[in-house]
């Protein structure tokens, strides 16, 4: 029992409650309070990052001990993989909240904004920490409903339309997930992930097992916007306020989509080759199609949103290659390398995509448009935005000194070593097209000479926005240190061990 674990859920939920009550009486309370609690949780998550290692921490909600080694309470689990995702959720959450201190002046109703923001963070932390399938669903709905409201926060026609689409597809996804959870409960009579693994281990019906897997994959795939399910993402992510776009694209689709898919398919289901090939194919398709959809966009935030689909494709493809190798039982070290590349890219993507959306927000804040054709020559008047967005653009397109290069390199090396040459070539081609589309972004936004003179008196954005962007760009550079073996062993290797050794996860939870 580790009593610190539930704080990740309790603090944001209590924060949302307090903001709605105290925020009515004290002006400006909401802004600083949200940043403060998120800063505290960031420190807490980094404390866990350095202490967790190979251990698995457990918290039994309500103190319900297992009876005859059958878990009856709700478990919250903190292991090597969870802690990485918790860290990026709280870090990007803190920086977005700090950024919003200035950005929120565009909107009224700051209390609602920050309360929903806290609810979303609490929901995502809950999804990631939960070791219980139905609890995942409940926290997923908490975060998803607050994100519906946040997407529609501007209440203009575009925002409402995007939110409507998002709600219909999100609702469909929720029912598919609930249907899947119902089936699992029917077949195993338990909801604890570790216990389900043990129950499936003692024999199952092949047909219903496959049906459950398809239900879960399509439900969480809809949340993660993998290609056949991606229709809502560009609308929702481009219509939301920019700090929220950074949250949605940077961490939301990972925490409630990719994370749960990886967790369930590695630690709950038996890894089967057919499913692994399906996941790899979905990842490859979204990687390729996402970038082709992105390159024609002229709206900055839509361009970035389509790139999110493409970059998530890298993560899913790489993890899928690891699954294929694990299911064949051959070359476990190459499987570990592929999964390491996927997780590394997941962390990197949170940093640079969050930064890019904050840059887009800064541009929109100063010149009031998102259309690339109406921009130009911003490099002189907005030096910090220009420099940070250059770092982020180079990171996402995989140019050497930055973090994106190393994760893509690991993914490509793993694909070549696993003899998936086609996937390696596709990954390189997609990377080059990404570079092209970000050069277009850089040229039209910052370097192109603008025709009109209205850009003369543009100034750099206020301090909180500048601060968040600078911190994220430093993180973008520092994350490339993860490629050094000692640091990788301390942070990434525990996560990979949890995923590649499924028996360890379920036994060590059931024993405690």
């Amino acid at each position: 029992m580790n009593p610190l674990i539930p704080l990740f859920v309790v603090i944001p939920l209590a924060g949302a409650f307090l903001i709605m009550i105290i925020g009515r009486f004290i002006e400006e309370f909401n802004k600083y309070f949200t940043s403060l609690i998120l800063l505290f949780m960031t420190c807490l998550s980094f404390y866990f990052l350095f202490t967790t290692g190979e251990k698995i921490f457990l918290y039994k909600v309500g103190g319900w001990e297992p009876i005859n080694s059958v878990p009856i309470g709700i478990y919250m689990v903190m292991d090597g993989f969870t802690v990485i995702v918790v860290c990026i959720i709280n870090l990007i959450g803190f920086l977005s909240a700090f950024y919003s201190i200035s950005y929120i002046k565009r909107y009224t109703a700051g209390n609602y904004f920050y309360a929903l923001f806290c609810l979303m963070i609490g929901g995502m932390n809950g999804v990631v920490l939960s070791g219980d399938l139905f609890n995942i669903f409940v926290f997923l709905e908490i975060s998803v409903i607050s994100s519906y409201a946040l997407v529609a926060f501007g209440v203009e026609s575009n925002e409402l339309e995007a939110s409507f689409k998002y709600q219909i597809l999100g609702g469909l996804a929720s029912f598919l997930i609930l249907f899947g959870i119902g089936f699992i409960y029917w077949k195993t009579k338990t909801l604890n992930i570790a216990d389900i693994k043990a129950a499936f281990g003692s024999g199952y019906n092949k047909t219903s097992y496959l049906f459950i897997q398809i239900l879960i994959l399509s439900g969480f795939g809809l949340k993660a916007a993998i290609i056949p399910f991606h229709a809502w993402l560009p609308d929702a992510h481009s219509s939301a306020p920019s700090p929220i776009s950074a949250m949605l694209s940077g961490i939301f689709i990972k925490a409630v989509g990719i994370y749960v898919i990886i967790r369930l398919f590695f630690n709950m289901f038996m890894i089967s080759e057919g499913m692994a090939i399906l996941i790899t194919t979905l990842g490859t398709v979204s990687m390729v199609i996402g970038v082709f959809l992105a390159i024609g966009q002229w709206d900055i935030k839509r361009l970035l949103a389509y790139h999110s689909i493409s970059q998530m494709g890298y993560v899913v493809m790489s993890v899928g290659i690891g699954m294929i190798l694990l299911s064949r039982g051959a070359k476990p070290e190459i499987a570990s390398l592929a999964i390491a590349g996927g997780l590394f890219h997941l962390v990197n993507h949170a940093a640079f995509k969050g930064l890019l959306f904050l840059n887009a927000g800064a541009i929109e804040y100063t010149i009031g448009t998102r259309n690339l054709k109406e921009m130009g020559g911003l490099a002189k008047s907005m030096p910090v935005t220009s420099a940070t967005s250059f770092i982020a653009s180079m990171s996402i397109s995989g140019v050497p000194p930055f973090n994106g290069f190393f994760s893509k390199l690991i993914i490509i090396i793993a694909a070549v070593m696993a003899k998936f040459y086609l996937l390696a070539v596709l990954a390189i081609i997609v990377s080059i097209i990404t570079l092209a589309s970000f050069l277009k972004f850089q040229r039209f936004a910052f370097y192109n000479k603008s025709d009109n003179n209205k850009n003369q008196n543009i100034r750099e954005v206020p301090f909180p926005m500048v601060f968040s962007m600078i911190v994220l760009s430093i993180i973008c550079i520092l994350l490339s240190l993860l490629v050094i073996p000692e640091i990788r062993d301390a942070i990434l290797t525990p996560a990979i061990n949890v995923l590649t050794d499924p028996a360890k996860y379920s036994t060590s939870i059931l024993v405690q």
């Binding site: 139905f134 669903f137 409940v138 709905e141 409903i145 519906y148 409201a149 529609a152 209440v155 203009e156 026609s157 575009n158 409402l160 339309e161 995007a162 939110s163 409507f164 689409k165 709600q167 219909i168 609702g171 469909l172 929720s174 029912f175 609930l178 249907f179 119902g182 409960y185 029917w186 909801l191 609308d235 219509s239 024609g296 966009q297 839509r302």
Partner: protein
């Protein structure tokens, strides 16, 4: 078994409505129908023929009890479903004020 099949048919009815209807409110209603079918499925899982509510009676210990857990889960899911529907309806009302129509074909600013 027939109850499960009816439940699946209800799901398909909702799905059909979701795909074919053009009216925003009807889409929301279709989504609710799908939701209800999922809840029905969940409660059916815990049902046992001849079972009674799981209240232990020391005088008569050999009763068959239905599984109470799915019922508790469905209660939670109904509350969540209520929140989702309320949110959806709020957005639909706002959309009607902006566009003056419920027809989804005329609400098409975002594309590409």
């Amino acid at each position: 078994m027939i109850a499960y099949i009816m439940c699946f048919i209800l799901f398909l009815v909702g799905f059909y409505g979701l795909i074919t209807r053009r009216n925003l409110v009807k889409i929301a209603v279709s989504l609710s129908i799908m939701e209800i079918s999922t809840f029905l499925f969940f409660t059916l899982i815990g049902y046992i023929d001849g079972g009674v509510a799981p209240i232990v009676d020391p005088a008569d210990p050999v009763k068959i009890y239905v599984d109470p857990l799915p019922q508790a889960l469905v209660l939670t899911a109904i509350v969540i479903g209520l929140a989702t529907t309320a949110m959806l309806m709020a957005v639909i009302i706002r959309l009607y004020r902006k566009y003056g129509t419920f027809d989804i074909r005329e609400i098409n600013n975002l594309r590409g």
